[in-house]
Homo-oligomer: 121 residues x 2
DNA sequence: CGGTTAATTAACCACATGGTTAATAATAGT
DNA sequence: ACTATTATTAACCATGTGGTTAATTAACCG
């Protein structure tokens, strides 16, 4: 019984499931509609399993409509995961700043080098 | 060999590894320093394995210093994962707006109800 | 050299994950 | 009632994950 955040990240750690979420971002879809892009690569039960992972993570909710199971995206866990990540924003921005700084010094050096080599006729 | 994003999310799907990242956000730390908070819960080889997962995901880099292996956080994959998530920002903001709207109508209804029940003497 | 500290590797185990095929359920439509 | 469609469940398999203990490597220190 892992915590919510772990379940969310685990659910996102699969390209098939991320593609399904992307599809659901455009609106509800039934299981077979979600399965359609993967029909060549995997069977329907495999799709059902992926959806179950997304459901247990709270990223989607399945409803009933005749013999269809329309799925709907639930963005809350995504927001929570995103909020968690923002903790580290400071760090990647710092590291980007350091990179910028470094590139500036490299460019400065290059310029000096250029001058040194400037024996144009 | 899963894609980068999958490896990142998989690495983040474990509270121990997230705690290690949090520690590394405050600066470099050796393996045993990183292990310290977990000494009661798990052995050193377990820690080594977690670090290997983080390393393969590109979230940390290990260097050498005598018999120590100082680890440093590398925020790039975190930024990429965060950027990916921002796709869904629209959705959770929309759903928040809908919730707000709903709460407004509920409050309005409550008020009306209150009036109806107002037979104070 | 010999001992200590830091960390990894090896070998193993239980359990989860991602897939399969075959069988089953549930609803719609005629 | 029968058949087709949609989806799930069951049973199975290979591989990955998270942990263990014991052995090994590598560097320092006296």
């Amino acid at each position: 019984m892992p915590d919510t955040l772990s379940q969310t990240f685990a659910a996102l750690a699969d390209p098939t499931r991320r593609a399904m979420l992307a599809r659901l971002a455009d609106g509800e879809a039934s299981v077979s509609e979600l399965a359609e892009p993967f029909r060549a690569e995997m069977s329907l039960p495999a799709v059902t399993k992926h959806l179950k992972v997304l459901e247990r993570a709270g990223l989607i909710t399945k409803t009933k409509q005749a013999q269809w199971r329309p799925c709907k995206i639930n963005p809350l866990p995504l927001k929570d995961a995103s909020d968690w990540m923002q903790q580290y924003r400071r760090i990647w921005e710092e590291s980007f700043d350091r990179l910028e700084e470094y590139l500036k010094t490299v460019k400065a050096k290059k310029k000096a080098q250029g001058k040194k080599n400037d024996r144009s006729k």
